[in-house]
Amino acid sequence: MSDTVYDPPLRSKHTPGQSQDDYPTGPSASSTEVVLEAGRHDLHYWFDLWRYRELFKMLAWRDVLVRYKQTVIGTLWALIRPLITMIVFTIIFGRIARLPSNDAPYALMVFAGLLPWSLFSTALTDASNSLVNSANLISKIYFPRIIVPAAAVVVSLVDFLISLVILAVLMVAYRYALSWTIFFLPAFIAMAFFASLGPSLWITALNVKYRDFRYIIPFIVQLGLYASPVGFSSSVVPEQWRTLYSLNPMVGVIDGFRWCILGPGQGLDIISVLIGAAVTTAFVAFGIYYFRRMERSFADLV
């Protein structure tokens, strides 16, 4: 059959053995052996993850760049969405239902709770679709797949940081003074991040195999908004239900955020934070375990 007109490239056929001199001897010329086998638990995985850290950075950077391209008001969307939710919640829970806010302005209390909650919900929504959306990548290139949902969770941190700036502006507007508790905020941000990561990994892996989860997630996010103390303070939850209520890791996170931002007057139930931290740790461990177990079949399923 006639292929396109073709001249052989100017190259004398290479014979193994003659090229000792030009063989690359960079750091990549390591002689580590990789063994591929069915059901093998790859010990190189965590090493690979480190090697692919730049890809992680690039994927996160790509998602940030693309996120608001071809929208009219661009990054403003990251400001408008939480502000509108705050106004609605303040009116419904603060004005109409007249729930207590422990001496802080109701709007501030809602916003402080909204911060970690939107981190969680954006992370869960974006991560769960991330693998299915990068189907072409997964079926053509090898890299530790955990990078994709993890990058999605990191990207949701960007919106979170923007919201943090709005909160600062709001606090100035309300002339609300910070107290020493603010120094604990980084710890609770870390907890919010991990509380988002664990379930995200789990659901992402499930979504590749069972696309039903695409429909379940928006539902979880919507229910979770009311099951977590976003629009109201945890103090309205009856004492006898508190322990059960704390099993939702976002309870500890949100209470912690309020305590850090609005000061010790908000009160912080240390037991509920510890329960939240334990549940978060368990979720992260389970998420990673489950993801790793499913990972090998992703390319065949996606």
Binding site: P9, L36, Y210
Partner: protein, 433 residues
């Protein structure tokens, strides 16, 4: 010591097999009654729930079939070798590359890789249309496993190779497809792994660019890197590879000399090519067949080989079990890569749809002047309803060899094109002169 490392195998594959589970929609579905449909759906639902509980993959369809894309493949590649992999469509080449590049896991068998591997299974994987050329170079480079430092060092070279200097800060969605492919290949061509795995990526872009790509591939191979190259382009394989692997139906049929592997590959097409009648009744089908009409055999009236520009007749034998009205037949000629070059359907040819009574029928298709250039082609034959519902179809059923007419200049026809056509040519002095 150095000598020894060069002789060791960098890739060793032992007993590699890969199974896929396929779901088929049963052919009865179209004609089923409501009761059958409910029964079918509920048994499917029960199966899906069982799979969900056992944590297994969910398959769409009514019948589940195992399919071995690779069966017990073993071979070794020495450090610094350039190995070609050839085989027909569905021979398992891509599956093999996917396992080697760690995208998917083998079902059985073991692979040992003693070096950093990079795979190029598709040009432009991970390109994002909204990002500019510059941003995509960095993104794609890191997806392919380059570090930011490496990419920065080669940035100018990549841009120059792709010839897109002017558009480097334009989003790639505004690129022409040629520019897009050039940029994508340019990034990939500057990878420097120890083992490079390449799948049919040379079949893109214009001829001039393909030539440069092959030159670049030759350069990579000449640098002592190990390369595995899948291609249907036997010229490229011959020019670039030290040795080759021939595959067929998931099995390795030969590993060794390039020329012999290519001969085996080309021979695999001609298996039934000598006979003037080819049975297709029992060949595997990719579609669910209709129970009313079946393609039995293909035969050639006159001779088995066709001559460019001369009459060529194909006879399709069909067996009809129940009367069918409005049947349309079609034949298609494909290149060995599987690309369809020429199609001829009876309805397009102006022939009213056939109404066939039960029994055997001979359907003849006559080309007045076959426009295909000399070479070997694969024949697809099928029949369908006027409403485009396929009844039966057999792909790559047999080989048709086209030879040049007796008085044609061989230089003119050799590797010139895939189609040769006669048109009306005229000439006259310009009216103003």
């Amino acid at each position: 010591m150095e000598r020894k490392t060069l002789q060791e195998s960098i890739i060793s594959v032992e007993g590699l097999s890969k199974r896929y589970m396929l779901g088929h929609v049963s052919p009865q579905r179209a004609t089923a009654t409501l009761r059958d449909a409910i029964q079918l759906e509920s048994s499917n639902f029960a199966r899906k729930m069982r799979d969900l509980v056992r944590g297994r993959q969910i398959l769409q369809g009514d019948q589940i079939e195992e399919f071995w894309a690779l069966k017990d493949v073993s071979f070794e590649v020495k450090r610094g070798e350039v190995v070609g992999i050839i085989g027909r469509n569905g021979a398992g080449k891509s599956t093999l590359l996917k396992i080697l590049s760690r995208i998917t896991e083998p079902t059985k068998g073991i692979v040992r890789l003693r070096g950093r591997i990079a795979s190029l299974l598709e040009v432009g994987t991970g390109f994002h249309p909204e990002l500019t050329g510059r941003e995509n170079i960095f993104l794609n480079g890191s997806i392919l496993g380059m570090t930011q430092k490496e990419i920065r060092g080669k940035f100018d070279e990549i841009v120059a190779f792709a010839e897109i200097e002017k558009f480097i800060d334009t989003p790639v969605k505004r690129y022409s497809s040629g520019m897009y492919v050039r940029l994508a290949f340019a990034v990939a061509a500057h990878l420097e792994p120890e083992i490079l795995v390449v799948d049919e990526v040379l079949a893109v872009g214009d001829v001039e660019f393909q030539r440069r790509c092959l030159g670049k591939m030759g350069e990579i191979a000449g640098n002592g890197r190990t390369v595995l190259l899948v291609s249907h382009n036997t010229h490229a394989i011959r020019a670039l590879c030290d040795s080759a692997i021939a595959m067929d139906k998931g099995q390795l049929i030969y590993s060794g000399e390039t020329d012999k592997a290519i001969r085996l590959y080309e021979g695999s097409f001609a298996r039934n090519g000598d006979a003037s009648r080819v049975m297709v009744e029992d060949k595997a089908r990719s579609i669910a067949r209709d129970s009313r009409i079946k393609l039995r055999a293909i035969s050639f009236k006159g001779s088995g080989t066709a001559i460019l520009d001369e009459e060529f007749r194909i006879c399709i034998e069909v067996e009809v079990f129940e009367p069918v009205s409005s049947v349309v037949f079609g034949v298609g000629f494909c290149a060995k890569s599987g690309a369809r070059l020429l199609s001829c359907d009876s309805d397009y040819s102006g022939r009213p749809a056939y109404s066939l009574a039960p029994g055997l029928h001979d359907i003849e298709c006559t080309f007045g002047q076959l426009p295909l250039a000399p070479g070997e082609y694969l024949l697809d034959v099928g029949c369908r309803s006027e409403g485009l519902v396929l009844y039966d179809e057999t792909k790559e059923a047999c080989v048709v060899e086209v030879v040049p007419p007796r008085n044609a200049s061989p230089q003119l026809l050799q590797k010139y094109s895939t189609c040769m056509f006669k048109a009306i040519w005229t000439g006259a002095p310009h009216a103003d002169a």
